[in-house]
């Protein structure tokens, strides 16, 4: 599949490329830009929340109305921030970019199983993402019914919602193609000797993630089409009869159920949460194994926990819906499954903590981000506990406690892991090193400001402040005691934004620096490092396709001549 590409034009090399590494980079660059965009939307929202009566600086000029942010626009920003961060940012970066680039290298494959499908998947994503943001330019602005798009609100919303649904159809199709590809690649293209229990954890998590995407997304794709029909063709899949909106009785046929959408949506969106976190686990395991210079503690228990987590993630979805009027038996079922799914997460986290015992820890930038991930994800996971107990959720549901909870999981959690991955694999992708001082500044300031944004959210949530409020809760008496936190959080958020300049500058100067000429600077054991040059060869990856003789994390093997023994080293 590689040898007949001799003279490649710019177009086939960089645009319609079928090389998994180029596609990985395409995914990575696109996703990082969207992450930045989603972050900017959030910074505007945070201005509104801190100073509800003042015009928005800089971008205010675009808003008209004296620079004030109208409530419907705040709702658009919220819905788009959520959608962009998840579907345009984190998933494409974690699964599309890291999965594409490193999974074939780690299993000794010369490319993905279906290279053309791979390119199609990226371009579907690209088109979907562009469609998604064109919503800002249609009358009424972008979708404004939350990233959850609950009908009937979304059914009667402005045109932006139609654009959102069309965007989702592309994005879902892209993920389906990507997941089939990862599954086929892992099953078919493992090199000689790479049996299942020798796979790096990173490969395992990508494999399970692919299953989740493959099985969870089709219901949402169907649901999106049904909602499109409700909006455009006058059907009533999600609408009962007898509704009166702004004094006007709706003429729809009725007979549908708004809860049907919620079930279909969360049937996807709960596994989606694991799509956001599993690749992060994988990256963190790779980085921790490498920088503790010892095997990961409990490799098998991690693998089983990840597989079990994958299965369980399909039967917890309705814990997002306790307050919709659920009876005792249904709520008991979903509470129980939710408590059960917390156990494998505890297993994984504990295994990572235990891995530190007896280590020889190197504190480089990737390791700092990976270590930072552990307690931050810990907070995110632990705060999920009261939300999973329906009785406690009565009070906490739809408050800022929830916003704090899942942001701990995805922001100082997943985003830290993704940064760890970028710092760790940058030398592999470019043959260059990133600057350590800038990297460490990036880490420490990010850690401080992340907590500055999200910890106060817990306090607001405990006080009962609802999410998605345009004025940050100013209307309500119960918010009076915690209102001042809005400014604390907003300032932290902007400083967090400024901190990312360390990263951007580091990226630029590192890209301009000279190649170091080392192919395995971290002394790593997995095939991506031990069997390829940095960067790896164009089509084909390996000079000699490697054979695997041992497990993925053979560090500090007693009696070995160096403190790492690569998977492909024949002793």
């Amino acid at each position: 599949m590689s040898t007949d590409y001799h003279k490649e034009s710019f177009f086939t090399k960089y645009i319609w490329s079928t090389d998994h590494k180029i596609i990985g980079l395409q995914y990575g660059i696109t996703a990082l830009l969207w992450l930045l965009f989603g972050f900017i939307l959030m910074m505007i929202m945070r201005y509104q929340l801190a100073y509800p009566e003042s015009p928005i600086p800089i971008v205010g000029a675009l808003l008209g109305d004296g620079g004030l942010l109208p409530p419907e626009m705040y709702n658009s920003l919220g819905a788009m921030h959520g959608t962009i961060m998840i579907f345009l940012g984190v998933v494409p970066l974690a699964f599309g970019a890291f999965g594409n680039y490193f999974l074939p290298l780690q299993i000794g494959a010369i490319d993905m199983a279906f290279p053309k499908l791979n390119a199609t998947s990226y371009w579907m994503y690209f088109v979907g993402s562009v469609v998604m943001v064109t919503g800002f330019f249609v009358p009424g602005g972008a979708a404004n019914s939350g990233w959850t798009s609950y009908p009937p609100l979304s059914n009667i919303a402005t045109t932006g919602q139609t654009v959102w649904l069309c965007g989702m159809v592309f994005l879902i199709t892209s993920s389906l193609l990507g997941s089939i590809n990862i599954l086929a690649t892992v099953i078919q293209l493992r090199t000689e000797g790479m049996n299942w229990m020798r796979l790096p954890i990173f490969v395992w998590v990508q494999f399970i993630t692919a299953f989740l995407l493959l099985l969870a997304f089709p219901p949402l794709e169907a649901a999106s089409v049904l909602q499109l029909m409700d909006r455009l063709a006058g059907t009533s899949f999600f609408m009962p009869s007898g509704l009166v909106v702004s004094g006007v009785a709706l003429s729809n046929a009725g007979g549908g159920s708004p809860l049907l959408w919620q079930h279909l949506f969360w049937f996807l969106a709960h596994p989606e949460v694991y799509v956001l976190i599993l690749p992060a686990f994988g990256i963190v395991v790779e980085v921790i194994a490498n920088n503790t210079r010892k095997p990961i503690w409990g490799y098998k228990s991690i693998v089983y926990a990840v597989v079990f987590l994958g299965f369980m993630s399909f039967i917890v979805w309705a814990h997002h819906m306790f307050i919709t009027g659920m009876g005792t038996s249904m709520s008991s079922f979903f509470q129980t499954t939710t408590m059960i799914i917390s156990i494998p997460s505890v297993v994984i986290l504990t295994a990572l903590f235990m891995s530190l015992w007896g280590a020889s820890i190197r504190y480089n930038t990737p390791m700092l981000f990976a270590l930072g991930f552990l307690p931050m994800f810990g907070i995110g996971g632990l705060t999920g506990l009261p939300l999973g107990l329906a009785a406690a959720d009565i009070y906490l549901h739809d408050t800022y406690y929830v916003i704090g909870h899942f942001h701990y999981v995805v922001a100082p959690g997943t985003i830290f892991a993704l940064f760890a991955g970028i710092y760790y694999w940058f030398p592999k992708m470019t043959g260059k090193r990133m600057n350590e001082t800038l990297g460490k500044l990036h880490f420490f300031f990010s850690l401080i400001f992340m907590n500055g944004v999200f910890l106060p959210m817990m306090a607001q949530g405990l006080a009962g402040v609802s999410r998605r409020l345009w004025d940050g809760g100013e209307m309500y008496a119960h918010a009076a005691g915690v209102l001042y936190l809005n400014e604390v959080m907003s300032i932290s958020a902007w400083l967090l934004g400024m901190t990312q300049i360390f990263f951007i500058v580091n990226m630029i100067i590192s890209l301009m620096s000279k190649k170091t000429g080392e192919s395995n600077p971290w002394g790593a054991t997995t095939l991506d490092w031990s069997a390829t040059t940095s960067p790896p060869l164009g089509h084909g990856n390996f000079e000699v396709v490697p054979t695997v003789y041992r497990g993925p994390y053979e560090y500090s093997v007693p009696g070995a001549d160096k403190d790492f023994t690569p998977q492909n080293e024949k002793v």
Partner: protein, 279 residues
Amino acid sequence: MLELLRYFGLPTFSASTQGPAIDNINVLAHWLMALLFVGWGAFFIYTLFRFRASKNPKANYQGIRSHFSSYLEVVIGVIEVVLLLGFAIPIWASRVNDVPKGPDAIHIRVVGQQFAWNIHYPGPDGVFGAISVDLVDEVENPIGLDRSEEFAKDDIFTVNQLHIPVNTPINISLSTKDVIHSFTLTELRVKQDAIPGMEIPVWFEATMTTDELLEEIKGTAREGRGFEIACAQLCGLGHYRMKGFMTIHEMDGYEAWLAEEQEYLSEEEEDDWEDDWED
């Protein structure tokens, strides 16, 4: 732990019969969280310090041999079972199954709409009058009450003003005219989504009057602001201002309020009558 949660923001009063139980399960869950976090955190910081490369240049291939972590997982599992069976499920069962139906309970309909709470009382006959979508008039008759129907004549409705007596079971039938809203009484630890096409029972029993609340919050940031109804679910551009007010009376105060409303109603009817006469 309750004190800690209160320090962080949880209201210091829990003004309904089920409120303390809900606070309690939150306290228990946060104990478990705190123990795990402190336990992991202490281990984490200790290892980061003790096993730094400069201090420990050669890593140990074996690492920890103990299976302490398996016990930890079992213990967490057991605690979760206790939380579920001992607290979460019974509280929930009481919430959805113990809806008071008897004559002592006060039955009120609450109808959410963009962006207000309509409150509907059955009046002295104790029966809600008929409702029809076609009669909805946003100014005069937001719930579409059919005044010509026999049970409807004495019905009272208000917008954003919920009045209830203290220490009396309240049974609210919650519905919505348009989109999903979420009926939230933060101080009473009550929350229930209003779903289009459904009428969902919500019940509670307040344990504190508005006067007592106002006394309690003297000197705090919310001084002078009584009970409110919040909307917790995104329901459109006015979601942030979908706020109602709740006044909790002693029983006689409540009855006086009802009588007063009844009086307004009959005055209005007379007015209507005179209007008709003049035409």
